[in-house]
């Protein structure tokens, strides 16, 4: 396959050509309540071609029939030539690379029968159902993949990867009369079968939380000192800040560039943020991105100051900066876009107790049901919360929705603990119709001195 691809890009008529080919074996098991919804195995294969010629824009073709490679290169070339450009698209220089990257499969899922995968998930689903009579519905899913991946471009880069992925997720729904509550658990890893054993306790915990929330009061809406647990802090930094640091948001827009000027202060000196596509053992990690650029640790905010952004070769050339290895595509069906990998808030100092000690009344917001940002505005729903009273954790509360403005909120982060951890969950990031791209977030406990919490607002 490598020779075929290298030969094809060499013979392409365009000035620049690249090809990705993927072959993916996957299997899925889904339970709903006590019933198995499906246990399936699938095979997916296809290729992606992208070309560029002087004076023209991108020509792109994707296909599922691999015997058509040369025809697809010609098609992409024709498409490119239908896009005349007065200002040429330039790609930042990258040294050509030849590499074979066989990732640790963590127990090759292709060697495990569908029946064993079903038994594993049935056990986790059973843990949730057995917690209480009040657990009235569950959803549990297992998904694994192994992908063979080839990448070649006309500059001489030639890469082969064998890479795994595995995700196990569960939702427990608890009900008492008209009150319905949910508990979520999700583990997503760039690994395999060995790493998803012995998770029963975590699924049980999700169902126990759902049941406990039935009796919890809604948080009283208002402005509080708020502590985000590492999971919610990670989701927050990805959604609220990370997307703005993707250079395709700013590279064609002078006003956006001004808003995101390097050197602008975003937070206090304790705040450090970055994106680390090469961090060992994480779900968002790969040795190269989908332009064949090596991944790296890219600082975005250092001591409160904006110092960097995430790039593809095109955005890097346009802004006169260096590529960061963040051009990622969901699959051969899609072109690479500037995307995050493993995004983090850097570690601080002290313990969780140090963060809450001097708070007379506050909210500890934990886990994430979801979050959405519309650029500078965001809304996050925590999975659950605890009130903080007189420097100590107090009662469980629910419906903790955190809403705010990014710039104000980052600036109000006044304490960061020294208990950093990565959160490897399933799901993923969505952008430009490409979802779910595997990413990870990491953070320690983070304190916001003042934030708006939605909920029952006293009249």
């Amino acid at each position: 396959m490598k020779d075929r691809l290298a030969d094809a890009v060499k013979r392409a008529r365009s000035d620049y050509a690249e090809i990705r080919v993927e072959h993916t074996w996957s299997s899925s098991v889904v339970f709903r309540g006590r019933r198995l919804e499906a246990a399936t195995a699938s095979e997916d294969q296809g290729g992606f071609v992208r070309v560029l010629s002087r004076g023209y824009g991108w020509g792109i073709a994707s296909f599922t029939s691999l015997d058509q490679l040369p025809a697809m290169l010609r098609r992409a070339d024709e498409l490119s030539r239908a896009v005349p450009l007065d200002e040429p698209i330039r790609l930042a220089d990258v040294a050509p690379t030849q590499a074979d990257a066989v990732l640790d499969l963590g127990g090759d899922v292709r060697g495990v029968s569908l029946a064993e995968k079903k038994r594993l998930l049935e056990a986790y689903n059973g843990e949730m159902l057995s917690v209480s009579e009040r657990v009235v519905d569950t959803q549990a899913s297992y998904h694994d993949e192994v992908t063979e991946y080839w990448y070649a471009n006309s500059e001489g880069t030639l890469i082969y990867q064998l890479r795994p992925e595995v995700v196990v997720s569960g939702t427990a729904t608890a009900r008492r009369d008209g009150v319905i509550e949910k508990g979520l658990e999700s583990v997503g890893l760039r690994s395999g079968w060995q790493r998803v054993q012995d998770l029963g306790g975590r699924f049980r915990g999700a169902a126990e939380r759902a049941v406990a929330l039935l009796d919890a009061p809604r948080v009283r809406g208002g402005t509080y000192p708020v502590i985000l647990d590492p999971e919610l802090a990670g989701v927050f930094i990805h959604e609220a800040f990370g997307h703005l640091s993707e250079a395709d948001f700013v590279y064609e827009n002078p006003q956006a560039r001004e808003m995101m000027t390097l050197g602008r202060r975003f937070g206090r000196p304790i705040l450090n943020v970055g994106d680390h596509g090469a961090a060992p053992g994480l779900r968002g990690t790969l040795p190269f991105d989908d332009e064949g650029v090596p991944t790296q640790d890219t600082p975005l905010i250092r001591e409160g100051i904006l110092v960097g952004r995430l790039h593809s070769r095109e955005t890097a050339a346009r802004l006169g900066e260096r590529p960061t290895g963040n051009a990622r595509a969901l699959s051969f069906r899609h072109p690479p876009l500037v995307r995050m990998t493993n995004t983090y808030i850097g570690n601080g100092e002290g313990s969780f107790d140090d963060l809450i000690r001097d708070i007379p009344l506050g909210v500890y917001a934990c886990g994430a049901f979801g979050g959405q940002t519309l650029l500078e505005n965001f809304s996050f729903t925590a999975a659950y919360g605890r009130m903080i009273r007189d420097g100590r954790l107090a009662e469980l509360v629910k419906d903790v929705v955190l809403a705010g403005n990014l710039f104000q909120t980052l600036d109000r982060i006044d304490r960061i603990a020294g208990d950093f951890r990565w959160n490897q969950m399933g799901g993923g990031c969505g952008k430009g119709g490409q979802f779910p791209l595997p990413v990870t977030e990491g953070a320690p406990h983070v304190r916001i001195e003042e934030a708006l919490i939605g909920g029952d607002v006293p009249a």
Binding site: D44, E252, R333, L374
Partner: protein, 444 residues
């Protein structure tokens, strides 16, 4: 292809059905006003479901070389070994309704035509300090379904979509206005005109930022803003939610739950819509299904498997991709009577749908942040606004930021203040603006 796969089932399974789909897509994208890329994709795949020993199995593949088909069948049979027992009857051959899904003009349109559509929009939307992104896409394909009960149906389809997005950044204020058009054929001059004026009008009215109001207020939800209001109903009216015992509407068929003027139907037979189809992805003929009629709950949508478990019949709402098993889904969701919210021909729709007159203090909501988070099916929602306008003395006075709206859709839809004259397709949903009273508006 379908017959080839079904032939390989003989003696190894009691029954089965197959979906075949081939799609070719062509698209162009303009970024910051410049034509930047042109793309094409083609994809062919097969989804196979088998019944062996009374158990269901599913498998899918895009590797369609003849030697791979035995692997596909073997995987489906392995899936069936683990499957739940279910008496699933595949539909026999039945007459199909006539619905146009293929526009020869769209299939034949050269790339230049797509570029021309995009360029016209880009030029008309251009303005100082704004970034304009436009995409134009066209898909052409074929869906075929067949089963061991003898049903065999196939149809060709085309789809065209045009999306336009304007971003304006001033200091730390980010304003984004988006709209799109879709159909089976190329857009007419009037279609493009409506798309342009929809984006331009919402942008112009948003340039001025005003303080949000507060309290229990009348709120107009535009056809786009209605997503938050309709999502709980879409979930509750799925046969799957009824089967799982989590639909609040499950035991309320025949009951007047909503305003007498409120109707909801799913109609796969609307001419010119990309989601229309003569047959569903499981071989069941398409038909219009009334979900809510004059405020009264009438029924739910089902696919074959959910219907079999619930002891009812499929309504022809099976949706199926190449991978995974079929599921229940809507086609074209229609709010109110299609004729009712229609405006006079040639008249540009106004933001607010003509519902602002006499509104002393209120809001027009076009987009909310975080729709779909949390416990949707219960009907309660609480969301910050993405794009919303303040109404004072019957006029839009500007855009509001830093405000949130909340309420319960089952309470709000009990009494609807008015239906707008701006009914339109928003993706696969047809709706006019709705005026809802007593929506809680909070500012921060």
């Amino acid at each position: 292809m379908i017959e080839t796969v079904l032939a390989r089932l003989s003696r190894r399974a009691q029954a089965g059905d197959v979906l075949f789909r081939r799609v070719e897509q062509t698209g162009v994208s303009f970024e910051a006003g410049r034509l930047k890329a042109a793309g094409a994709s083609e994809e062919t795949g097969v989804n196979l479901r088998v019944v062996r020993d009374g158990r269901i199995g599913v498998a899918g593949t895009t590797a369609l070389a003849p030697e791979n088909l035995d692997t596909l069948v073997a995987r489906a049979l392995a899936s069936a070994e683990l499957g739940e027992p279910l008496a699933l009857d595949f539909p026999p051959p039945l007459p199909l309704p006539d619905v146009p899904t293929h526009a020869p003009g769209a299939e034949a349109a050269p790339l230049d035509r797509l570029v021309g559509i995009g360029r016209e929009l880009v030029e008309r939307l251009a303005r100082e300090g704004c970034q304009v992104n436009v995409s134009v896409g066209r898909s052409v394909g074929e869906t075929a379904v067949g089963n061991t009960a003898g049903a065999a149906a196939a149809y060709h389809f085309t789809g065209v979509s045009v999306g336009a997005e304007v971003t304006r950044i001033g200091g730390d204020d980010v304003l984004m206005v988006y709209d799109s058009w879709s159909g089976t054929d190329l857009p007419t001059a009037a279609d493009l005109d409506a798309l342009w004026s929809s984006v331009a009008a919402r942008l112009d009215l948003a340039l001025r930022v005003v303080e949000p109001p507060e309290g229990a207020l009348p709120v107009v939800f535009t056809p786009a803003g209605l997503a938050a209001i309709l999502l709980p109903l879409e979930q509750a009216l799925s046969g799957k939610a009824v089967l799982q015992g989590i639909s609040p509407l499950a035991r309320r068929v025949g009951e007047a739950v909503f305003d007498r003027r409120f109707s909801l139907a799913d109609d796969p037979l609307v001419p010119g819509r990309p989601d229309s189809r003569p047959v569903d992805d499981e071989g069941v003929p398409s038909r219009r299904v009334t979900l809510v009629e004059a405020g009264v709950v009438r029924g739910f949508v089902y696919d074959l498997e959910t219907a079999a478990r619930a002891g009812t019949r499929s309504t022809g709402h099976g949706h199926r991709g190449v991978f995974g098993k079929p599921g229940v889904g809507y086609t074209n969701l229609i709010v109110g009577e299609e004729a009712a919210g229609q405006r006079e021909p040639g008249q540009a729709p106004r933001l607010g749908g003509g519902l602002l007159e006499g509104m002393d203090e209120g809001l027009v909501v076009d987009d909310l942040i975080g729709v779909g988070q949390g416990n949707v099916i219960g009907g309660a929602f609480s969301q910050p606004v993405g794009l919303a306008y303040r109404v004072q003395r019957g006029e839009i006075t500007g855009r509001v930021k830093d405000a949130a709206v909340s309420g319960n859709v089952y309470e709000l839809l009990r009494r609807i203040g008015g239906f707008g004259t701006d009914g339109r397709w928003q993706g696969s949903r047809w709706a006019p603006s709705l005026l809802l009273e007593g929506v809680s508006v909070a500012r921060r």
